[in-house]
Every structure is written in C-alpha cells, then in structure tokens.
C-alpha cells in the first residue's frame, strides 16, 4: 500500500493526533471563534516548516499587521524576521479580494513571490465567507481558492472565523470543500478556561477522533494533549499480561506476607482509607523500598507539595531527597486547582517514558475525583488510561484513594467505581477500641493470588514508619488482639466471650 506523503505540522502533540501529519497538498481549515488560537496554530505551522523541515512558507494577512505577528511570534521564541531574512518565509499583507483574484491567475506576482522561495506551506489568516467573483455562491468561491492553492502545490492552512455560537449547528460551506478541518474551541470550566481542538475530518489518512485539549505556552507555542480516552498502541494492551512469578516488595514490614511475598510486577494496587489512616506513609515506604533496591520510582503527589512530602518522609526515617539526588526517585507535584486531564495525562506519559520507573505511586486518586467530578466518565477513563500506561511500561503501581468513612467502609470507592480495574485492594481502617483509634489493614482483593481477607492491626511509629503487627499478638503486648473481637468493621465490634482460644495455624 502506498504510504501517504505526510506534512508534519511540528506542533507538539498535534502530529500524533493526526497520525503523523497531514497529507501534502491538503487544504486545512482552522475554524473557531475569536481567541481560540487559529493564528497561533497557523503561524506555528509555517514557522516549524521553515525552521525544522526545510519547507519555506508564506503567511498571508488581511487584517493583522505583519509586525504585530512578528512581535507575538517572538514571545514563543519564533524569529520570523530571521526566517524572512534568510529567504525561508514571506509575510504578505493584502486584501481578501485581491488574494482571491490572484489565486485565479497563473502568473500572479503574489504566487511568484511564494515560488521564489520555494514555498511548500501557506497560512492565510482571517478567511471569511468569500464572495464569488462572478456572482456564484461562497462554496464555489472557496472551491476556486482551494484549486489555486492545489495548483501551487502548497499545503495550506486557512483560518476561518466562526461567529456562530453552535459550530456544529451551522456548517460553513467552506467546510465541505476543505480536505482537513480542525475546529478550535475555548470553553469555561469551573471558572477556568479549557482550549480544545477536534479534527473533524481529514482526507487521505487516519486521525484520532474526539476533542483534544491544548495550551498556548509562552516561549514554546502550542502543545496538544491527546484525549485521554483515545486508544493508544496495541503494546499498551498487551502489557497487561504480567510476569506471574516475580514479586515487588511493599516496604511495609509484615505486609509482604499478607500479599504472598509482594505485589506482582506491573500490577495495580489500590489503597483505600480515610485521611490519616496511613496511606501516604505506605506509599513513601513503597518508594523507599524501591530506592533501597536500586529501582526507580515515580511519586505523583497532588495534595502535598514536594517540601511537605520530603518532611513527611523524614519523619518516618526516609531520606527521600537523597534518593531523588541519586536519580532513583522522581517526585512530581501538580496542584489540582486547574486540572486539564488530557494535559496531565500527557505529562505523566512523558515522565514514564523518559524516567522509566519500576514503581509508581499516585497520592491520591480522590483528588482527581474531586477535580473531575463523578458525573462524567472522565475519572474512570483517566484511571483506565493510567493503569494501561503503567502496565505497558511494567510499572508496579500503588494508588491511594481517600474514603470518607471514618469507621469501617460501606463501599470501597464511593462514587468512583474503578475497583474492578485494579488487581489488589488494601483497605485501611480506623478501629475504635476503648478510647483509641487503632490502625487496621485488610487485604480485600488480590487478583490471581489467594488472600485471607483478615483484618490486621498495624502501627505507625515516629522515625520508623508503618508495620503490620503479627497476628495473633504476642502475649507480652498489653492489648487484646483483633481476633478477640467480633465485627471489627461493623462500626460496633463486640468482644468475644469466653476469651479467645489461640489459633492452631
């Protein structure tokens, strides 16, 4: 089969959405209302072509003065003046009518200017519904324009201003003629704004459907984040078949015995419990155990900034900073106030692919839940994508989730029903005995491994961290073991009578 000649846009993330680029010679319509980023995409398309792919380009402007475009481009680090000076770019200011007329003439001086530098790309900013020279309709007029561009063998991006509120409801006739349509939008989300783009159609190649987020970043340009739900490589799906023999030590004394020697490699473990139940401590010990073994670990923290995580680690005797300095731990913090889930996932993906951790922790999933809301599928889709990413890269991952119930749990994940996606679930509870809340741990689920689902007491000691206490407790300890109670998780445990008989096994 003939491979299509694809023009790479060079815009970060966009070529992935376009499955490698846009077929050469396509007329690409950038449709969107004012402020959606059409000019920035178009200018970057030409800039990247001229500066990275040896494809000189032309920018045609009808309303914005070229010096303003140059000034704005400089904010992204794009030196358009230098490209002009070296004959790789021409910026031409004209009127729509003249431009349209010139494209219909084979000997146009305007097109001769483009040919003089060997232009392969063109961006036309501010196309509006074109008047047909001989009284025809706008669709004919646009068709003539597209033919003119095609004759010149230019891959063209045309920014089309949309003024309608419902872009899907009122299709411009240009959209039927264009080969590729990229619709840009900007919408308010919880008092912030979210930019997104959608490749509505693109002739001659495959592309990722759906709306993908993007940002316009000073000093860089556009960065497109593929929709988190979009299917990834087949390899990612195959990653789920994990090694059935190797075990990954948890780093919690006493826990490995409860999970058959450790977690499976590339398995997904959910640690669920109320705030203060010890989830973050467990996570830090999991990371520290990796560092002790010389394994790379990624810790994604959403609730606590790095300095606080380092201090917490210090308080349980873990020198996390030293592990970071040795390149064994990557601590990544993103404040949750203005999550853009596609972007967030793309960042995690980049870290995983670059740092190649063997262990990972996210503390905590509930922060995603509160940012994304349970109503839509976003949270589940995001979690599904994260699980698949970690499995593809054979990362053994632990995810903390805060369950709001203080004593016992009536459900593991509350509104966020993702427990079916995970391999292991560890429940962290408080148990009220006398006037004290004591820590309890139950291994509730272990995929492909046996589990007793007994509740074990654990303790967290300053400078030492967490450990799971032996069961039954040694006689020297002045506490009645859990086995001496009935209904520990029923929120009203009862003491056994007569006194407990020690287990024989």
């Amino acid at each position: 089969m003939l491979e299509p000649d694809l023009v790479k846009t060079g815009i970060k993330g966009l070529d992935e959405v376009l499955s490698g680029g846009i077929p050469r010679g396509n007329v690409i319509l950038l449709a969107g209302t004012a402020g959606t980023g059409k000019t920035t995409i178009g200018v970057e398309f030409v800039y990247r072509g001229a500066s990275q792919f040896n494809e000189p380009g032309v920018i045609v402007l009808f309303e914005v003065a070229p010096d303003k475009v140059m000034r704005d481009a400089a904010l992204f680090g794009w030196d358009l003046r230098e490209l002009e000076r070296t004959g790789r770019l021409k910026m031409i200011f004209t009127t729509r009518q003249l431009f349209q007329q010139e494209l219909l003439k084979a000997d146009s001086p305007l097109l001769a200017e483009a040919a003089e530098i060997g232009a392969r790309r063109i961006f036309v900013d501010g196309v509006v519904r074109l008047p047909e020279p001989n009284g025809g309709d706008a669709r004919d007029a646009f068709h003539l324009l597209a033919e003119g561009l095609h004759r010149e063998n230019l891959t063209a991006m045309l920014a089309l201003e949309s003024t309608f509120a419902d872009p899907a409801g009122a299709r411009a006739p240009e959209e039927f003629v264009a080969d590729t349509i990229i619709r840009l939008s900007i919408e308010p989300v919880q008092r912030a704004v979210l930019r997104s783009l959608e490749v509505v159609k693109s002739r001659g190649h495959e592309h990722a459907l759906g709306r993908h987020s993007f940002r316009i970043i000073n000093g860089q340009g556009l960065e497109v984040y593929r929709r988190v739900q979009a299917p990834r490589s087949l390899q990612r799906e195959r990653g789920a078949a994990f090694d059935p023999t190797s075990r990954v030590a948890t780093g919690i004394p006493g826990l490995d015995e409860l999970v058959n020697g450790g977690y499976f490699v590339a398995s997904t473990t959910l640690v669920v419990g109320i705030s203060g139940a010890g989830k973050s401590v467990m996570a830090l010990q999991f990371i520290a155990e990796g560092a002790r073994r010389g394994e790379r670990s990624l810790m994604i923290t959403l609730d606590e900034p790095p300095a606080q995580v380092l201090r917490n680690a210090q308080s349980i005797g873990i020198d996390l900073q030293s592990a970071i300095d040795r390149g064994l731990v990557h601590l990544w913090y993103e404040p949750p106030q203005e999550f853009e889930i596609d972007r967030h996932f793309a960042q995690i993906e980049a870290i995983v692919e670059g740092f190649r951790p063997q262990r990972a922790v996210i503390d905590s999933l509930s922060t995603y839940g509160s940012s994304l809301g349970p109503a839509e599928r976003s949270f589940r889709d995001f979690f599904h994508a994260i699980v698949a990413l970690m499995k593809e890269h054979q990362v053994t991952a632990v995810y903390n989730h805060e369950n709001p119930e203080m004593l016992g749990m009536s459900s593991m994940m509350g509104e966020f029903k993702v427990s079916s996606l995970v391999d292991n679930i560890i429940l962290m509870n408080w148990v009220e005995l006398g006037d004290t809340f004591r820590h309890a741990l139950t291994v509730a689920k272990m995929r492909a491994m046996p589990t007793s689902r007994t509740t074990h007491e654990c303790e967290i000691l300053n400078g030492q961290g967490m450990k799971v206490l032996p069961r039954p407790l040694r006689a020297a300890l002045p506490m009645v073991p859990f086995a001496g109670y009935l209904g520990l998780l029923s929120r009203a445990p009862e003491r056994r009578t007569p006194p407990m008989v020690p287990e024989t096994q």
Binding site: D67, K90, L98, Q101, P109, L110
Partner: protein, 137 residues
C-alpha cells in the same frame, strides 16, 4: 530623539517631503510586503489618491520601495527595501522614531520646518518638499 537628530536623518534620506511620504513609509514599515492597489493604500494611510500616487512614486524612485512590475494589474506587490537600500540605516532609524505617536509628530513637524516647496501652486495635500522624484543613489 532630538529635533536635530530627526533633521539629520531627513537630510540624509532627502526624498521625504510630504506627510504622506512618511505615512506611507510607516505603513510599509509595518507591512514590509504588501500586495495592494493604490486606492486601498490611500484608504489605509488616509490621503487622497493623487497624493498617495505621488508619494509612491517618490519612494519608488528613491529606491526605498520596490514594486512588482506587471502594469496590467491594478494591484502591485510593494516591498520595503530597508536592508538593500544605501539609505537603509538612516531609514530604519527614522522609522523607529516615527513608529510612536510622539515620534511621528516630531518628524512631521521637522518636515514642515524644512525648506518650503520649490514648486509653486500646490495645495496642502501635495508634497511640501522637493516634489520632484529624487534619483536613486
């Protein structure tokens, strides 16, 4: 930016005589490659068409501007020739000054202060200085 500096630059560039000459230059400074007809240019710079055509001729003759050569078309591609012109350095300096509101007013003032028009019988919208095309240097 002193009046003397502006006068020196104007003396060096020599061909500028009318406010329209300056405003056209400023337009092409912001739009270094423009494909337009003179009617449209007149609308952009705000002078009457005959004056714009005279000023275009002045700038073209002085080599500050070049245009596409096809006379059968109403529109031409105008290209500001800052870097290739021998006057490039002075022109850039003058345009940088005139790019601000105060700077433009100062240059216009200096233009008015220059020697009166040598050609008689011209009204306010016509060139105030030499009027004749200045040969390329």
């Amino acid at each position: 930016m002193t009046p003397k500096r502006i006068r020196d630059l104007l003396d060096r560039i020599e061909c500028l005589g009318h406010a329209c000459d300056l405003d056209l230059l400023l337009f092409f400074y912001r739009h270094p490659q423009a494909f337009l007809n003179s009617e449209r240019l007149a609308v952009y710079v705000g002078y009457d068409l005959p004056q714009v055509e005279r000023s275009l001729e002045t700038l073209l003759t002085a080599g500050l501007l070049r245009q596409s050569s096809d006379s059968t078309r109403p529109a031409r591609l105008y290209v500001l020739t800052r870097s290739s012109s021998p006057l490039g350095g002075s022109l850039s300096s003058l345009l940088r000054i005139a790019a601000t509101r105060d700077g433009r007013l100062a240059v216009l003032h200096a233009l008015k202060q220059r020697q009166p028009p040598r050609l008689s019988g011209r009204d306010e919208s016509e060139p105030v200085a030499n009027g004749r095309p200045v040969p390329r240097t």
